[in-house]
Every structure is written in structure tokens, then in C-alpha cells.
Symmetry: D2
Subunit: 405 residues, 4 copies
């Protein structure tokens, strides 16, 4: 049987358990604090919810089994992360939020034994959090990673790192950093980057400030971090020198898809809130849900959810098959980010004045979702990459024809 | 010369003065308090800014000249209000915000001499604020005004009003209310409403709570207000008994258009912020402003601004000519509200991560603008009305043909 | 391994063979006759192309193996039909066009042995064509099938059918008709329809005229057909009396999806034509393919193709699992029809003046694709159905909660 | 009174006369020949309709009064041309189609007395047609006019022109050509173009072929024309040598706007056809016009029409005031072209299966309108220009600030 989209019952059971856990333990806290994870307790809240998740058997479904996780494939993560994402605090509770989830994924692929023990294990078990320090203030590495300016210079026994990073998610309170720094070439060059592991208390690492963005559910915020003469010993190089861009790719595709999974849950919730509202609210001689323009919004939400999910499944399949899947993840990410914003916007519109009020969670979900069209590559950068690949395929096919002639 | 879109120099001068005033006196306060007018001082701030506006000669450009205003037509208000709206605090500063501006407009048309002295003059001069109590919680009057449930019962020397109102802008701190109540018929009937004037300290009027919405620039918030056995003497009936819906129309068209004017200013500001950003920021081997996808967003913003302005001018022309212009104002409002949201969204996207941060005003302008697609009639209700009028015109034309045959 | 989207090599081989066949034998004819299948020879052309397809081993991939087909599942049909649809004449060549393909599918499910021999076999083998007579002129069954007006009255040994049908694809030249007629209830009622088989030369069946639509690739056109006292013996009832709507559902879901498959091929071709153009054409100091706005169109085409394909696969999976999948097929059909029109429109735009000319096939592909947003249920009807199901699920969940309490 | 959008009664009377004329004399012919002006008689038809238009007093409303026209301003042309455009043959009938109308406009501004007599007068009076030979096949002047490759070389007493032109509207049967050729600089340079007048029978001018596009209402088609050693005497230079680009601008803005005007009529007609259909057609328990999703389409058509008209009026006002108005005409053209396509598409959708059939004119109006998003500059080129101007304004403002500091 060639094509099969059926999940194993072990997965569907986990989805059900996750949904129940989120509704019972997570949503009430999120609603009480209007989705502001810092106001709700930050790391204290995280540890409390992590304990509850462990007890419920839903903790760290992505992490390696040897470190207490459930070792799910990307395909199987999809519905579970979606169920967790129904609350914006769900990813924190299950320890599957950015950037930790992506860092666990990457470390599991690249870290050596010593690094697994020192960095991966405490991270996977939720003992510490982590940060991934790649993006920089202008004119450094932002949408265009080749612009990387942070420098690592070889010194005796290790490297000395200098540079500034921006939008470093989870930096405030992280146990360690994965730092991307240039070890060869100049800003603008392809290649020449290396990844370094560094405990947060390494001298020279300073969290300068939080950039206050509209999303409020990521612990440790989005920070500006400076690195001044930060010494990293050779054994804390992650993988090989100058291979940082390649490793970033290992992390990037899956991390993009888990964003899609988590925020899918929020999008589903928006639709649930709106459907509940219009199914009950009277107006114009009936229920709002019976009005054509409302039905159009309900249906468009369903179509957007279905398409986002279908593209996600395709991309996960490719990743599970061991392929890079840059194109599939770009497509799924771009579509999903835009679809979610359409969904939350329609949901607000269906709920009228209450839709823009704190009486419903929709307005803050809009604020939470808006950055996703920018984070992990703005839609425009993904479209640019998708188009270049498309034209590249045509060029190759032309050359093949030419060679065959 | 039949068609002329040139403004008088008296108007363009006022626009320039208003712009200068807003940039010097208003924007700094708005930015300091991140657009939260309550945090910035509420009515204290308002009085301070009103004084500054009077001194600058830009106060109350819409109000009757006899009460210290500049008596502008709707057409001439357009560019002035736009200039004021460049800051979300601008309308408060010039005393041209909702609902006061619309209430001044309506009272100037309908109030008798006594009411002009007691209610209109202090309102026009900015001595008090006011509220317009029409919309109700479900299943009362919301998008569908015929559902009006608040009751006024005739008693000796006046009327006794009972009911609940919701989303009453500016209620908290208002000097008086204009209350829409049913004096004939049942909820669902066309007609049968009357407008009553009542000082805010009239026994039985209680501001129950603020509905916390995403917009933060209207003084006095959006409130739930209850009316319990509120006595209004006969002389405080505004206009005629049972003519409330007709008067609401007098208020509605212009009030819709001044919303369009004010928020036009915010939309222009979004574009200004984004253009300034992409014109300077480097990326992908040049300025962001030189990238095609960025240019598309810049151009689409310009097109949206131009179209919104052109529709606004058309509607103002109709209103100034003494016509109801329900269709023209519906079209202009619907288009503008949606255009502004596209504009702010594109502007955010152009600014990348900073776009969703407090470093730029865009994210909070999005929150400020989002409700406009719902306030003053959601787009769906306007579209429904526009469609019905279109089909109605066809039906009439058919009947005329039939009659002519 | 729970989720698997890999096709069997038998399928990918067939896709390759189909592509090669279409490019060699079908595209040249289509291009010569500008996509007008009647001008290209109609049934003569069909027979010629069918022979070629048999020889190439790609004929009737959907038909039962016992009748010379390849017996593919819905999932496996998807890429094969897409390859065929790369030319608008491909479906005719492979004998997988509407309505024959859907009729084969339905007859294989419902016909009794006698009917299999008399109707299904000659149809499956391409000896005759067929028509499915369901839709009617206003006020009969159109988007709303319950409005069915064609009547079948019981007479001795069979039924007598009277009524008018419209948009009956392939009627002109069909070997037999499947006629949907009301055997119980009144127009507007759910249920009460029966399916009848009738040779085209049955007295009383008349093809009145062709409705000339913008699509030109379906043999036998879209016709108005009248039925006047058409006698059908009892043994030519397809399935059970009064079960017509249920059987129509059996046909509908798969037939919708094969439309999506076939026109996917046309959409891919549009993108191919446009990419080839912009990759070569100079302008504004480089290739058009290097301009941001062009890249956006290329990328959006890729995203639309990927999403349509992903939704199609999901729906096929459901159908292959034996489920009705009304919702999945509605979603896939609605999304795909709209996506294809966006794709062809962008492709035209990328090619500038040539895009709207006969020098390229794009303009006629637009004309060919436009009806799909209407055929097989306009988008609006699907959205209405999707919305009702969504609200229905919510209502059921509410009742379940209520029952559980 | 600063802003006035009221038309003079002389204009509204002319609009009424034009509408009556079009419905009586023009629409029946258009419908009979399904909008194909060549099939309907080409220049024979044109002469016949021109005579009828003269008799009805509606001929050449734009042409100078001295040559028998009505000498309308751009603002006043707008509603008249719209009324004419209600039929796709209307512009031919009134002699206000492209390219003649734009050529009259340009010649009236630039031609010297001799040229007025020899070229302008017979053209304005409808005795001959004309063509404007600017655009070239790739890699020549298309969307990017600087790429001009056709060369004019100075010879004794005049110039010798060599080059190939493409998409030359009306070339087949034109009485004379206005030829844009390079007299200085190289392809890619700004400037260096000159305009030449040449009778169509000048040796060396050959209409090579028609490019068959989806629009069928322009007489003389869109042709490829070759110029081989075409001699033009000095006195047939239009204006000054090397000033061709500047003159093209004189022609371009107004010509763009008259396109908008004419096709506005077609868009209005689409909406009329659709409204008439849905107001009468039954379905889903009522008239289609009472369904929310249909109402949304009707309303969106109204909004698009109103916005296109409002932008047009703004641009005409600027042109009448003697300004270049490149930005205003770009905005109006871009918005209108896209709006018209949305309108015709929604109109088709409202009419279901008949919408894509020849029973209604909608499908061919879609084919007629589609090129407008490409002709006279594709939307992408206009957006690029609009964006550059926007950023340019910001840069200038910055420099002004810098200079002032």
C-alpha cells in the first residue's frame, strides 16, 4: 500500500493525553495571565508545568528515549505538538518550545559523547534551557545568514568570540548558548561559520536587553546578547570547524516545522472560539453561523487548516526520510504562517467587538501569531528561495537536454 | 469648471499647522506611553493637549464657529483630521475623537437652543466629554440596530429608561450621555427609537466595567453601562420622539467618515515608518527598498492610501451636498478599514523582527487599527447593505421599465 | 512506520510513461488545434489517441483490470492523471476524462452483472462514451441537487422519464446515459431520486443544443438534453430505486478528485511555460526571473501547486480507506480550483503581452480552467457545506458534553 | 467651495445620450458577433457606427472642436467614455478607442500646423485610423522603454528608420504611423528617442502578422510591423529630435486614463449582468441575491467600481490641471485593471455555469479585460515605479532636512 496517512494508535493516544493535559493544566494558567508567560511565573511556571507533564506522560515527546523523551519522528510530532500548541503555554509545559526543541534535535544529531552528557542531557530532561545565538543586528546576519559578522579567532586551546546578537530567543535565563560565529571568510561570504557551545556564565556573555515583541509565550524573551572576548575551549566546538551553516540546516528544517505544528494548535483554537461564538449568537433573524459571509469565513478557516496540515505532513515525511527538504519546509512554513494569520483575523471578525477584546483570547493570539510570518525567515525570503530553486531546476533540465543532444 | 479637487489654501495651511503641532506636541507623548492614553494621563492629558491645540490655532476644526470651532465642511475636515490622526493621540488633542466629534456634529444639527447651551456648547468647547449609548449586549442592538432592547417608558414629566449598553466609547468620565432607547415597537422592529440627553450623574446610570480592547487611544474606554430607572425630563429628548433611527443616520455617515480620516493618518504613518526603514536598511546586496517584493509592498500601500482617500473625498462631497450618502460612506468605510489593515500589516512585514517589536510603533498601530473593521459596522454588515441597495436599484429600474411599458 | 507518502515504483514508472506519451502523441495535436477537441477531430481523434495509449501501455489506468484497465487506487491515480492532464487532450487520450471516468468508477461499484457486460465493459474499454444526466435548467437541480424535477413514473415493466437536463457533459455522441430522475417526493425534498441506464438511441432522448463554454477539451460538449416519455425497463435501474442521491455521492467524491488531478497537470504546465519564459527573457538589466515580483509569482505558483497536491493526497487516502470523505474532497476541490486559476493568471502575467496571445497556450488554459471553480459545485456551495459540517461537529460535541454531564 | 465632484449638465446629458446610443446601435452588433470586431465588419462597421454616432451627436467627444469633436476635458471624458465602454464596440463607434484617441490627444499638443492638417484632422474626423509604433520584440522596448532598438539615421532631407515593432495596435489598416525610433544613445540609455510621422504606404513599412490575443474589440489588431529603410522627411518629425520620451509621457498618462474609462464601462456591464441574474434566479430556498456569499460578491464589485472611479477622477483632475500625474495615473491604472478583473471574475462566478458560456457576455468580457493588466505597462512595472517615487520622496525630504540643519 503506497500512500498511508494513518497515525499509529500510540500516537493518537498521546495526542488525546496531550489535549487533556493542556485543557486541564495549561489553558487555565494561560488564560489567567492573558498569555504572558513571564507574568505567569517564567521559569518557575515552566518547572511546575514540566513536572505535571512528566506525571501525565506527555513530557518531551521529541527528545531521545535515553534522556527520558518519547523519541517521536517528525511525522508523529505533528499532531502531538499541535495538541500542545492549543495553549500558547503548551510548548513550555511539554518542553517542546523554541529554541530548546530545535537545539535538542540538533545536539542529538551532532554532539559528541561528552557534549551529550554535559549539554544535551540536562537540556533534554528540562533541567536547563538553552539559546541559539545566530541572528545579528543590521548589517549582520538576519534574513541573510551569509552576512554573519560575529568573529571567532583561534587562540591557544580554543577560540575567542566577539560580536553582537539580536532576537536570541530564550537567552535570559538560558543555561547555555550555541553560538554561531565566523571562523573563515568575510561577512557576505557563503560558509566559514562554526558552532560553539558555551555555558551562560562564561565570562563575556551579557544579555543586554529584551526586545519587546507582540508574542509573550516564549520563556526568556527575545534578547540582545553581546559576546566580548568569550573563550570557548576546543572541545566545546559543536561538530567540525567551518561547518556551522551545514549544521544550521540540520536544525532549521525541523525547527521550522515544529513552529508550524505548535502554532497550528493556536489556529485551531481560534477557529474553535469563533465557531462556538457564531453557533450561539443571534443576529439578523437567526444564528450568525447561518449567515453566508460567516459561513465563508468558517469554511476558509477549515480550508487553511487542512492545507497547512497537509503541507506539514508532506514536509515531515521528507525530513523523516532523511532528506533536507528545504523546499518542502519553506513551502509549508510560508503557507502556514500566512494561513494562521488569516485564520485568527477571520476568527476575530466573526466575534465582532468581543473579538478585539480581552474577553476572548483571539486578539492576543493574533499578537502571538503575527511574528511567525517573520521569524525563521520572512515569507519574502522563503519565496525568493523557492523561486530560485524552481528556476534552478529548469536550468538543470535544460542543461541535461543539452548534454543529451 | 465641473470637477475640482483643490483645497483652499486656508485648509492646506491648517493641515500644515496641524502636522507641525502633532509632531511637536503630541507624538512625543504618544511614543513615551506606547499609545496608551490612560497611562499617559487620560483627561488630564487631554486638557493639557487641548490647551496646546487652542494656542496653536488647531483646536476643534469641526465645531461650530460660535462655540470656538473652525466650522469646517466634511470635505475640508478630511486632510486636517488625517494630519491629526498621524498620532493616535492627535484626535484627543484636537478634540476631534470619537464619540465627541460625532456628537457635536449631531447636536449641531438637532439640538434645540436650550440643549445647545447646556450640552453642545460645553462639549464643543472641550469642557466636558460625552458618550453615545446605542449598542447593547447580545441579543440587543449590535450590528443589527433594529434589535434595540433598552426601554423608555413615559412617566409624568418625562421618561424612565431601563437597559444595558455595551461598547460605549468614552463612557468613563463622560459629562453626559446620549441614550438611544425604544419608545415604540418591539426588539426587531424597524423604528420606534428615541434619543435622550442625560447628565452622567443622573441617578441610575452606572459604568459597570471597561471592555479591554486592543485600541488604547480613546479616552474613557469602551464600557458596559447600565441604566436602571433613569429619569429623563421631556425637555431632554433630542429631537422628536420615535425619530431616533433617523437622527442616528445623521450622525452615522459623518462619524464613519471622520473615523476614516483619523485612521488615515495612522496608515500614512505606518508607511512612513516602513519606507524610512527599508530605504536605509541593507540586505541581499543593496537596500531593502530596492528589492522587488519590498517595492510591491510599498506600492500597494500607496495604492491603498490613494484609493481610501479618493473614496473618502467622494463621500464627503455627498455629505456636504446634504445627501445621506449611506452607500458612499459604507463603501469608503469598508474599503478604508480593510486597506489600513493591509497597510499596517505590510509595513510590519517590511520592518522584519523590529516590526513586531516595541522599538517601532507598528505593532501597536496594528492593534489600534484592527477594531475599525468591526467598529461602526463590521465590513460584513456594510457589504450586506451595499448589496441590498444594488439589487434594490435593479428592482426599481425593472419596475420603472414595467410601468413605462 | 505510520505516515508514508512514497509511491510504488510501478506508479512512478507509469507516470513517466504517461508523461512521455503525452509529450510525444498528445501535446502536438492539442497545440495544432489550439485545444479545441472538436476541431481536432472529436471522436475520431479520441479513437486514434486511445489506440496509441493502449500501445504505450497507459490506457485506462483507473478501469477494472478485467476490462483492460490498470485498476489503480485513487491515491495512485493522482500522479498519473496529473501527467495525463499536462495536455488538455490527455484525459481523452487515456480515456480518463469526465464524465466517463466517473461513470466507470460508479458502475464498477453499483452495476449488476448484466449491466457490467452491457454498459460498463464497452465503456471501460473505450468502445463507447457515456453521459451523466443530473443537472437541470433553473429552477431544477443545479448547485442544489434536491431541486431535482425530472420525473420517472412507474409503468408496466419499467419507468417513463420526462424532464430537461442541462450542462450534460459528453452527451453529443454518448453511447448511453445515466439519468437521475425523481421517483419519490417533490422538488426541494432530500432523497427520492433513482438512477436509470438508457442507450442514447432510446426514443425520446434528444440532444437539443451545445452550451458553448470557455473550455474546449471535453468530447461531446456540455449539452441541453430533453427526455420525453423515455421508457427504461426495470432491469436498467442502476442499483436500488430511490437510492440515487446515495449513489451520486459514490460518484461525486472520486469524480471531484480526478478533476483536481487532471487540471493539476494543466496548472503545472502553466508554471512550466512561465518559468521557461522568465528564465530566458531579458529586462530591467537582467533576466525577468531575477526580479522580486516575478519571483513572488513563481513561488506562489509553487506553493499553490504543493498545497493542492497535498490536499488531494489527503482526500484520496480517505477515499481509498473506504470513507465518503465529503469534507476532504470539498476542501481539496475548492482549494485546487481557486489555486489553478491563480496559477494560470500569474503565469500569464509573467509572460506579458505574449501571455494573452495565442503564441503561448496560457490564455486558452485560463479559459479551460475557469469553469472548474463552478463545475462539480461552485466554491460557494462547497464553502457552505464545509461550514455547516464544522458547526455541526461543534453542535454534536456540545450534545455529547451535555449527555455526559 | 473647495472640492466639487459635480458634473456639468452638459456632461451628464452627453452621458445619457451616449448610453442610449450604445444600447440602441452598438450593443446589438457586439452581441451578434460575440464581441469580435473583425468578424463584425472591421473598418466597414466602424464607418457605419461612426456615422450613426455623428448623427446622435456623440462622435469624438475628446477631439478638438475645430475638427468636429466636443473638446471635453479629461475629467469630463471619464463618464462619457465609461458610457461608451459599456459595449466593447462603443469606443470604435465613438472613435475614442486606442490608439487613435491617444494619438489625437498627442498630436493636438505637439503637431505643427502642417501636421495638424495632414495627420491630425483626418484622424480626428475619423477619415483614417492611426497606429503608435513604440513597443518592440525582446530584447527591445517593452515594459522597459529605455531598451528601444529601432534606429533612425540622419540622411539627406530626413531620416532612415530600421527596426521591428510588436503589439502595434490598429496597425493593420491604419492610415499613418507614429514611429518611435532611437536618434541618439544605445539601447538601455534614457533619452535619445524621436517621434516620426509616416503614411502607412511609405515604402519599407510592412505589417508582418497579427498577434492573436484574447481581446477582440480593437480594430486593426495587435500587429508585428517591420520598418526597413523607411524614409521620413524632416518635416514629418513630430516635435523636436531626441524628445520622443517626453512626448510619449504626454500621450501616456491620458491614454492610460482613457483605457480605465472605457473598460470601466465593461466592468459596470459585468455587474449589471450578474445582478440581473442573481436577482431573478432561485436557489437554496430564495433568490440567489439573498445569499450572503453572493451579496459579498455584489458588494465587492460595487466597492471596486467606486474606488476605480474615484482614483480615475483624481488622476483626471491632475491631468486637467496641467500636471504630468505619472503617479496618479499609475495608481489609477493599476488599481482599475486589477479591479476590473476581480469584477468580471465575481460576475462569472455569480452566474454559475452560464457565466462561462456564450449565453452571457461575461466570459468574453473576461478575455477582453485580461490584457489590461499587461497593456500600457504591467501592474508590476507600475508598482515598481510607484515604489521608486515613494522612496525618492523620502530621500528628498531627508536631503531637505539635512540642508536645513
Amino acid at each position: 500500500m503506497p500512500v498511508d496517512l494513518t497515525y499509529d494508535t500510540s500516537v493518537t493516544d498521546l495526542v488525546d493525553k496531550t489535549s487533556a493535559f493542556v485543557r486541564e493544566h495549561v489553558l487555565p494558567v494561560e488564560n489567567e495571565f492573558h498569555g504572558d508567560v513571564t507574568a505567569a511565573g517564567g521559569d518557575d511556571l515552566r518547572r511546575r508545568l514540566n513536572d505535571a507533564a512528566r506525571e501525565a506522560g506527555v513530557f518531551a515527546p521529541h527528545a531521545p528515549v535515553e534522556f527520558g523523551g518519547l523519541g517521536l519522528t517528525m511525522s508523529d510530532r505533528a499532531p502531538v505538538f499541535e495538541a500542545a500548541g492549543y495553549s500558547t503555554f503548551g510548548p513550555v509545559a511539554l518542553h517542546i518550545g523554541a529554541p530548546d526543541e530545535g537545539n535538542v534535535h540538533m545536539l542529538a544529531h551532532i554532539a559528541d559523547d561528552r557534549q551529550r552528557t554535559l549539554y544535551l542531557e540536562p537540556l533534554a530532561r528540562g533541567i536547563v534551557r538553552s539559546a541559539f545565538a545566530m541572528t545579528e543586528p543590521s548589517p549582520g546576519a538576519g534574513s541573510d545568514p551569509d552576512a554573519l559578522r560575529t568573529q571567532a579567532v583561534k587562540v591557544d586551546g580554543g577560540w575567542k568570540i566577539n560580536g553582537d546578537k539580536r532576537f536570541i530567543t530564550g537567552a535570559d535565563g538560558a543555561g547555555f548558548f550555541i553560538i554561531m560565529a565566523r571562523t573563515a571568510g568575510s561577512p557576505g561570504d557563503r560558509g566559514g561559520a562554526t558552532m560553539f557551545l558555551a555555558p551562560a556564565d562564561t565570562p563575556g556573555i551579557t544579555v543586554q536587553r529584551h526586545i519587546h515583541t507582540t508574542d509573550k509565550a516564549m520563556i526568556g524573551g527575545h534578547c540582545e546578547v553581546s559576546f566580548r572576548d568569550v573563550f570557548v575551549p576546543d572541545e566545546d566546538i559543536l561538530g567540525e570547524v567551518d561547518e556551522g551553516y551545514r549544521y544550521a540546516q540540520v536544525r532549521l528544517g525541523p525547527a521550522r516545522m515544529t513552529h508550524v505544528m505548535r502554532w497550528m494548535g493556536s489556529a485551531v483554537r481560534c477557529q474553535d472560539v469563533a465557531v462556538e461564538y457564531v453557533a450561539q449568537r443571534e443576529g439578523f433573524g437567526g444564528k450568525l453561523a447561518d449567515l453566508g459571509m460567516i459561513q465563508q469565513m468558517i469554511a476558509d478557516n477549515e480550508i487553511d487548516l487542512a492545507a497547512a496540515r497537509a503541507l506539514l505532513i508532506r514536509a515531515c515525511h521528507e525530513l523523516d526520510a532523511g532528506r533536507h527538504a528545504s523546499n518542502e519546509t519553506s513551502i509549508a512554513k510560508t503557507f502556514a504562517a500566512e494561513a494562521y494569520l488569516r485564520i485568527v483575523d477571520r476568527s476575530i471578525q466573526m466575534c465582532g467587538g468581543l473579538g478585539v477584546s480581552e474577553d476572548l483570547p483571539l486578539a492576543r493570539l493574533q499578537a502571538e501569531l503575527r511574528p511567525f510570518r517573520i521569524y525563521d525567515g520572512p515569507s519574502e525570503v522563503h519565496r525568493w528561495a523557492i523561486a530560485r530553486r524552481t528556476v534552478g531546476r529548469w536550468r538543470k533540465a535544460q542543461q541535461a537536454k543539452g548534454a543529451g543532444a
